[in-house]
């Protein structure tokens, strides 16, 4: 079994109201010096068997078609060391 992680973030030019809300809460908690907050999603895919280049091609396809919307989001795929 192997774990592949897909991180999905809104593209830099897309407004992130949730990140802004989090950012706005920081000073109220006494945290200063944070210039910006962007909120994203993390997906952990548990794969059967070993991670091969072919499997990673499949994972990227999943990331592109379902896990992210390429119009507004970027994604990054990485294999978690076991």
């Amino acid at each position: 079994m192997a774990r592949v992680v897909v991180d999905v973030m809104l593209k830099p030019e897309i407004l992130d109201p949730q990140g802004k809300a989090v950012h706005g809460a920081l000073p109220r908690l006494g945290f200063d010096g944070v210039r910006d907050v962007r909120q994203g999603k993390r997906f952990e895919l548990e794969l059967d068997g070993d991670v091969t280049e072919d499997r990673l091609v499949e994972v990227r396809r999943v990331a592109e078609t379902l896990l992210s919307n390429p119009v507004i989001e970027n994604y990054a795929v990485r294999v978690e060391p076991s």
Binding site: L15, P17, Q18, K20, N69, V71
Partner: protein, 224 residues
């Protein structure tokens, strides 16, 4: 004339949409998200609500439902399809319409009687309006901010695919005040406000929404 209204798990406005279809003079047909056919309808409405709980992204799971396979094929063949609110989000996720809808810039769910201008009155869904006509339609959304890159927005403007725009207040941060867009062919349209809630003077701000439903009937009758 039969107009199909799809019910997804989490759809809210399917009943109102069917009622609007009836008031417009057509026969509403109930379609289920698990159907892989459209039952021979002449047009389809994807109603508002929170399909599949808005999990992942609004409309992202609905896109892969069996009925959407049939809707995408039929839309590409020219079937009129109207997506309202969550239906608009589903059409964007399905790539039947360009762009995407993100959380309101105000971070608040907005519910108001919204003034709009119908910019393109030559689509199958807007032909009963006149170009530039101002209407009042109920708006209620939390993720209604329309976004696309500048090249796409310019193309939409140039091709007349921006069907309706917000007047007075931009309620959700939509780029270029966009309330509704169509595909290039004009048969597929997404609208963030809810015309199905503006069809009966008894409830709501008026009956300005009925025109979207009567438009498609007129267009279908003309081509039958």
């Amino acid at each position: 004339m039969k107009i199909g209204v799809v019910t997804f798990p989490g759809s809210l406005d399917d009943v109102d949409a069917r009622r609007a279809v009836t008031l417009a003079g057509a026969e509403p047909v109930r379609l289920w998200h698990g159907d892989d056919h459209l039952g021979g309808v002449d047009a389809v409405v994807l109603p508002g609500g929170f399909s599949y709980g808005d999990y992942l992204r609004c409309g992202a799971i609905a896109r892969f439902s069996p009925v959407m396979g049939a809707v995408v094929d039929a839309a590409n063949d020219g079937l009129p399809v109207l997506g309202i609110c969550n239906g608009f989000q589903i059409l964007c996720e399905s790539h039947l319409l360009p762009g995407a809808l993100i959380r309101n810039d105000s971070r608040r769910f907005v519910c108001r009687d919204q003034r709009l201008r119908v910019d393109n009155a030559s689509t199958v869904w807007t032909s009963d309006y006149s170009a530039g006509q101002e209407v009042v339609i109920v708006l209620k959304n939390g993720e209604g901010g329309y976004v696309a890159d500048n090249a796409t927005l310019d193309r939409l403007e140039g091709e007349g695919q921006i069907v309706a725009r917000y007047l007075d207040t931009n309620p959700n941060g939509s780029m270029r005040d966009i309330a509704g867009v169509s595909n290039e062919r004009g048969n597929v349209m997404g609208l963030m406000p809810h015309p199905e809630h503006a069809v009966d003077p008894l409830c709501g701000a008026g009956t300005d929404g009925l025109g979207f439903f009567t438009s498609v009937l007129g267009q279908l009758a003309a081509h039958h």
